[in-house]
Structure formats: C-alpha cells, structure tokens
Amino acid sequence: MKSFVNVNPKSLDEAVAVLDRARAQGKKAALAGGGSDLLGMLKDHLVQPDLVVNLKSISGLEGVHREGERVRIGALTTLDEIARHPLLVERYAALAQAAGLAASPQIRNVGTLGGNVNQRPWCHYFRQGFPCFKNGGKMCYAVAGENQFHALFGGGPAFIVHPSDTAPALVALEAEFKVMGPSGAKIIPAEKYFILPREDVLRENVLGENEILAEVILPAAPSGLRSTYLKIRDRQAWDHAIVSIGAALEWEGGRCRKARLVLGGVAPIPWRVPNAERLLEGKSLGEALARQVAEAALAGAQPLAKNGYKVPLAKATVRRAVLSLLPAA
C-alpha cells in the first residue's frame, strides 16, 4: 500500500476545507469512516490517495437521535449499533435488519452507515483491477464474461450492482441524506442520491469530491407502517446480496395505503419498482396478489448470459417479503 498523510479534522467544515484544498492542489483525498472498504481498496491499489481524511475525529457524527417524530442517524454510526437500536428495530425494521445482515460481525462493529451506503461496487473485475469502466477504462468485462452477479436492470455501460444492504432499506423508508459541502448543507432524498452508470460511470452517487455524507434522516413512521429487508446470498454470512429487497408497506383497515418496494443486487442503484407498488396500493393482500406484485417487479428485467437465475429468485424474494408484512389480524 502506498503511504499517505493522515488528516484528523475536528469539524465537518474543516473536513470539507481539507477536501477543497486537496482538489485545488491536484491532490487526491479519500474519506475514512470505519475504513473497512477504503483499506481494502488501498491494499488492492484501486485508490492511491495522498490524504486520508479520518472522519472519526469529528465529534457528533455518531448516534441515533429522535427529533420530534423523525430520527436522525449520524453517518458514522456503526452498522452494529443500527442493527440493535430498539427504536430502529421497532419502527424502521428494514434498516435495522439490513444493517444486521451486512458483512461480518467484525466489520459491523467498525463499518458505518455512511460507509455502507457509499461503498464502491464489489464486481470482481473492478476489485481485481481490470481496466473496466469503473476503473477508468473503456469496457465492462462482465458483458461477455462472468456475469452471474451482475445487473438485471439499469445496466450499461457498466453492469455492476449496488452492493449496499442499507441503501435499498433507506430508499424504501423514504430517508433523506444530509450532505455537507463548501456551500453548506443540502438535503437529498435517498432515491435521488444514487446515479446510474449512464449518468456517470465513475460514481455510484451524486456526492462530489468535496462533499461528505453527514447524516441520514428518517421521516416519521406512521402507525400501520411495516417494513422488512430480505437478503438472498450464496453463503449465510459475509456475502453480498444476489438479490435483496427493502419493502415498506403502510396499512389502514386491512388495506395497503402505500407501498415502497426497492430491490437490491439487481441494478447499479437501489431499484425501485413503482408498477409493483401500485398493484398493492388500496388492496388487501393475499397469495395471488403477492404473485402478481412479484411478476410486476421483475417485468422488463434484462438478464445477461449467466444471471437469468436471479429473475425467479427475485420474484420469490418479493413475494416472500410482501407476505411477511401482512398487517396483524
């Protein structure tokens, strides 16, 4: 690993100033939350920053805070804390479950919500340093290669899938992200935060070089809201989702008032499926409707040569998730 200078800012403003100055001087800076993803990238020589900015030196970026009916979660809150937090477990189950299913116990003890949302793709071509689009090259090796784990939706020119477990849950729960930059803070809905490769193949989100994800804000959880995160993977621990779903349904009098279904592991961003959501809204749920919802969610999927198995897998995941959210009788 190439060495670098450690920077320990005391405030977000100072951290943003460090990033701004680095950019002006033509230096590369990398942000470290828990550092788990960054260290892997450094060891594989995928990034070679001049500066590593340690966000843990900033106080106030951790913790789960109630603010009226909303909940604010500092971007440096660990996945382990989120997975166990009673308020999140009770009211925002999809997020707590997603955090608890991410990576391994050791990584959840260090890894942060911000880092999980912002982690780079785990496409094996990208991580092994192939000169692919994501590494600044001119092709996606998955298109004609080993594409078992690649995208069904939204692919091109790169066919990565977004690796975060918490991201689909946050989009389903209609979270907002507070981003700090040179001109202060801005609030971005989770759904608008992630961008497709066709918008910018080198990034997975709108975060600029001199911006920092500071906080995640969860809106009030209305009574009748039930949510879950289901993750299907090759092994039962420390693996990324082959397919997953963050699902949030609001019930009123036995009927679904509002539905948010967001697939993970199938697209370069958390993939919302509005046509499937609309089928649920205004209806009471049974096995037959759950099947229709699952069909609608996967309509338009464009499998590559080796990932067609994900289509029935994802349908079953959608069906299982929505049926698990039936309101208490």
Partner: protein, 169 residues
C-alpha cells in the same frame, strides 16, 4: 512521516511510532511482537486477525493503527491469566476445536466478545458471532461446542464483570 500514539494492549500502555498506512495488525505483530494475532486474507474475509478494540471484535487488518490513539486492545496474548488458560481456551483444547490452529486466536477473541455480552448464548447465537471467522480444518462443530461449553456460567466466574477477561480460579 511517522505518527506517535499511545495504545493500551492487554492492559499495558504502549507508546508506538507507526507509519500512516500501517494497520493495527502491522503494529501488533511488527512493533509489539504479538504474533498470536494472525495475518490471513488482509481484507476482512477470514477473521484470523480478530482482536478486541474497546471491547468489540474487529478485523485488525482493516483498522489503521494511527486511528487507535488511546484505544484498549486485547489480543490472544492477553486472554490467559497468570493462573493459567482462560476457560474458553481450556474448552477449545478439551473439545478438539483446534487443528492447524491458525484461526484459533481470532475464534477465541470473537467468542470472548460474545460471552462478555451474552454469557449464555444459544447455538445459533454462537454461530452468528463466529460468522466472520473462517476455519478450514474443523468444520466448526467442535468450535461451536467449545464456546457453548465455556459459556456455562459456572465455568466462567468472571464473566459479566470488567475483569471477566481473567479466570479467577
């Protein structure tokens, strides 16, 4: 450029000079000679480098040493007491949970973190707590059994107290 820091390792204060890119694993093995913590995959897959950092099991290969100023670290060298092995270590030996031994320090530290928080875990809770540690010899059954054996509160008088690291017999 090196960075000076003070870390408490196995109860002893150490003043270290580390390079900015050195990991906690590098510091433990190369600076302090604590080679019980194993260098495995280096990317957080195998758990062989697991230590306790402020009481939590972490992969020491994925933590920058420079970011551990003031932290408390427990390695496998700090698990046994002067009086002898920790009940977890005894249980690993008794159950045949050690074969080549490379994963053992990490397994013990992950298990210790679990038992300090949950002294009577279920089989599923043990498996969950060890899910970030790979073993390519034992097939895990004997490791899980060893942790369950050691979790018997009567065997581990110190659990639940801060000094629970040391067996009191």
């Amino acid at each position: 450029m090196s960075i000076s820091l003070c870390v408490i390792v196995n109860g002893n204060e150490h003043h270290l000079d580390v390079a900015p890119h050195h990991t906690l694993l590098d510091a433990l093995r190369e600076e302090l000679g604590l080679t019980g913590t194993k260098r495995g995959c280096e990317v957080g897959d195998c758990g062989a480098c697991t230590v306790l950092l402020n009481g939590k099991a972490v992969n020491s290969c994925l933590v920058l040493a420079a970011e551990t100023e003031g932290a408390e670290v427990v390695t496998i060298e700090g698990v046994a007491g002067r009086e002898g092995l920790h009940p977890l270590q005894e249980a690993f030996i008794r159950e045949g949970a050690v074969q080549c031994g490379f994963c053992t320090p990490g397994m013990i530290l992950s298990a210790l973190a679990l038992l300090r928080e949950n002294p009577r875990p279920s089989d599923a809770e043990v498996r969950q707590a060890l899910s970030g540690n790979l073993c390519r010899c034992t097939g895990y059954a004997k490791i899980v059994q060893a942790v369950l054996d050691a979790s018997d509160a009567s065997l581990v008088p110190g659990f639940g107290r801060p000094e629970g690291l040391r067996p009191s017999r």
